[in-house]
Amino acid sequence: MAEEKELKNLVIQGAVYKTTFTKRFENRVKYVTPDPNELYSFIPGTIIDIFIKTKQKVKEGETLLLLEAMKMENQVRMPFDGEIVKIHVKKGEVIPNRHLMIEIKPTK
């Protein structure tokens, strides 16, 4: 049994165990610390309007764009006072979940 499959190492609390992995374990998503200057979509949908331009100064709470999903218009707002660095989406574009929409930076 053990010889037939290719065994891998799994480290748990300092001990190295010989074992096999599941597909789900191998495909697990590596955690990346979120960057507050990157605005990602939180639901798949369509960009129906964009209200800002690159380099524009925007106040906290201002609506940046409209993301239509599940028949609802979601307003994507500015999380803090800052500036638009780059816009990665176009009006009418259909985007998946966790898609980078806008890069921003805070005003100093």
């Binding site: 053990a2 799994l10 609390q13 300092g14 165990y17 010989k18 074992t19 599941t22 597909k23 697990r28």
Partner: protein, 514 residues
């Protein structure tokens, strides 16, 4: 008219209706590689045992031109029969009649046989093959689903409920199987999803085939919605019959005993397990070395294979086994394996099936993905399930029993009735490697050769704690046994606990971490 002509008229009527959607629709069904609803029932039940009810029921739709249409039996066959001579209630949706769509009368037939099953305390088998709600009947078809789900919930833990997915089962319809005890799927035939590929594509722009989205393999391996996977319908029916042979007819009965058999000769338990706790082996070989006839009927074989659950017999009686599988992910507990085991434990407890736990795990699986997906609340399920179970509970610690994993795997502290340990058992807060790093951190850091000191301290810790005797000295383990004594000890423990009486405090119900 003589009586004879009445009989002939009845036969003619029956023959007409029994054809379901007619020859053309049947031809289509066959082309899809599927048996018809009637063929399925006859293949599953004992020969000549099926009796059908509500054959002449017609649909009740009045709109969209439906009033002029005839839908034989309204697209579902219900009745009673036997499997291995024991009664079951059964329904099978007939895809050849309006795509097996569910309308008011169709649902009423299903709930009728469900009520019957619950009243008579016999298992219910539902064969699902339906396009979904009959749109023309509007809210009446939604009401029908609701009535079915409600009865699934009422019957849960009272009679065994088995769902067989032999065609599409989409939208709200999926929740009836989800509420039942065991779901069977067949390659290329079963399709289950809440929203189909076309909706997924139009809303999300994601291209996915029906098979990839909700095919048999997906539900058996990825989602955990299915408990049994088969290549063909006939194989699936064999699996159902085997399952039925292991479980009792209701929560008031015990599973029928079979003739006791010894395990097959030549399967020696002591040759299977390596002494080094870091080297894997297939725990199923250990189970087969102790069960009657070396037979083990695995449940959810493809989902979360780092834990094994399933049925076997000991001295002719059904036993539910829960066992860590060192061969996969070192046998850790994680979200999926906790969920899988907890549900199985609750099934055994509800249906008077003793639980034997075979333990060999290094603890819970570390990782951000696990923590963020809620390993705390999911992991808690297994504690809850073992703690509340009042059926006989026997644990055999084969090798590792570390930390939270030790507590979770039916420890003495969760009211295990018998806890045995092999001499290879290591019962400790963590493995020697991790423990030495923490306990002797200073000594290791300050040593001239830290690695050498670390190895020395690991050995020291191993000597002292990596054995069953510290726990045995506290009475947490009843007996340290030789591996070859495993079967005889379990048999004796089962015999002693035959009239076990234990109960939970009076309550309406607990609040398990769903």
């Amino acid at each position: 008219m003589s009586l004879r002509s009445n009989v002939l008229d009845l036969r003619k009527r029956k023959k007409e209706v029994q054809k379901g959607g007619g020859d053309k629709a049947i031809e289509k069904q066959v082309k899809m590689g599927k048996l018809t609803a009637r063929e399925r029932i006859l293949a599953l039940l004992d020969k000549n045992s099926f009796h059908e009810y509500d054959l002449f029921v017609e649909h009740a739709a009045k709109d969209f031109g439906m009033e002029g249409k005839t839908l034989h039996g309204d697209g579902v066959i219900i009745g009673t029969g036997t499997i291995y001579d024991k009664p079951v209630c059964i329904f099978a949706q007939d895809f050849t009649v309006a795509g097996g769509s569910l309308g008011l009368m169709h649902a009423r037939k299903i709930t009728k046989i469900m009520d019957h099953a619950l009243k008579m305390r016999v298992p219910l088998i539902g064969i699902n093959d339906s396009g979904g709600a009959r749109i023309q009947e509007g809210v009446n078809s939604l009401a029908g689903y609701g009535e079915i789900f409600f009865r699934n919930t009422l019957a849960s833990g009272v009679i065994p409920q088995i769902s067989v997915i032999l065609g599409p089962c989409a939208g709200g319809a999926v929740y009836s199987p989800a509420l039942t005890d065991f779901v069977f799927v067949v390659e290329n035939i079963s399709k289950m999803f809440i929203t189909g590929p076309s909706v997924v594509k139009s809303v999300l722009g994601e291209e996915v085939s029906m098979e990839e989205l909700g095919g048999a393999k997906v539900h058996a391996e990825v989602t955990g919605n299915a408990h049994f996977y088969a290549e063909t319908e006939m194989e699936c029916f064999d699996q159902i019959k085997t399952l039925i042979s292991f479980i009792p007819r209701s929560n008031l009965k015990k599973a029928l005993a079979h003739k006791p058999k010894a395990p097959l000769k030549g399967v020696k338990v002591e040759d299977i397990v390596p002494a080094d706790p870091r080297i894997p082996y297939d725990m199923r070989d250990v189970l087969k070395s102790i069960t009657d006839g070396s037979e083990f009927f695995e449940v959810m074989e493809r989902f979360a294979p780092n834990i094994i659950v399933g049925f076997g017999r000991m001295n002719g009686e059904t036993v539910g086994f829960v066992a860590n599988q060192p061969m996969v992910l070192a046998g850790v507990l994680d979200i999926d394996s906790s969920d899988k085991a907890a549900r199985f434990i609750r099934y055994c407890d509800a249906f008077n099936i003793p639980i034997v736990t075979m333990e060999d795990l290094p603890g819970y699986l570390p990782g951000v993905d696990q923590e963020h997906a809620g390993v705390i609340r999911h992991g808690a399920k297994i504690l809850y399930a073992y703690s509340e179970a009042t059926v006989p509970k026997i644990t055999v610690i084969v090798r590792k029993a570390y930390g939270g994993g030790y507590i979770a795997m039916n420890s003495r502290h969760l009211r295990a009735d018998f806890v045995f340990a092999w001499p290879t058992a290591e019962i400790a807060v963590m493995g020697p490697e991790g423990a030495a790093n923490i306990v002797f951190r200073k000594e290791i850091a300050e040593a001239e050769n830290p690695e050498e000191m670390r190895q020395q301290k690991i050995e020291e810790y191993k000597e002292k704690f990596a054995n069953p005797y510290v726990a045995a000295a506290q009475g947490y383990i009843d007996e340290v046994i030789e591996p070859s004594e495993t079967r005889s000890r379990i048999l004796h423990a089962l015999q002693v606990s035959e009239n076990k009486s234990a109960s939970m405090p009076a309550k309406k119900h607990g609040i398990p971490p769903f």
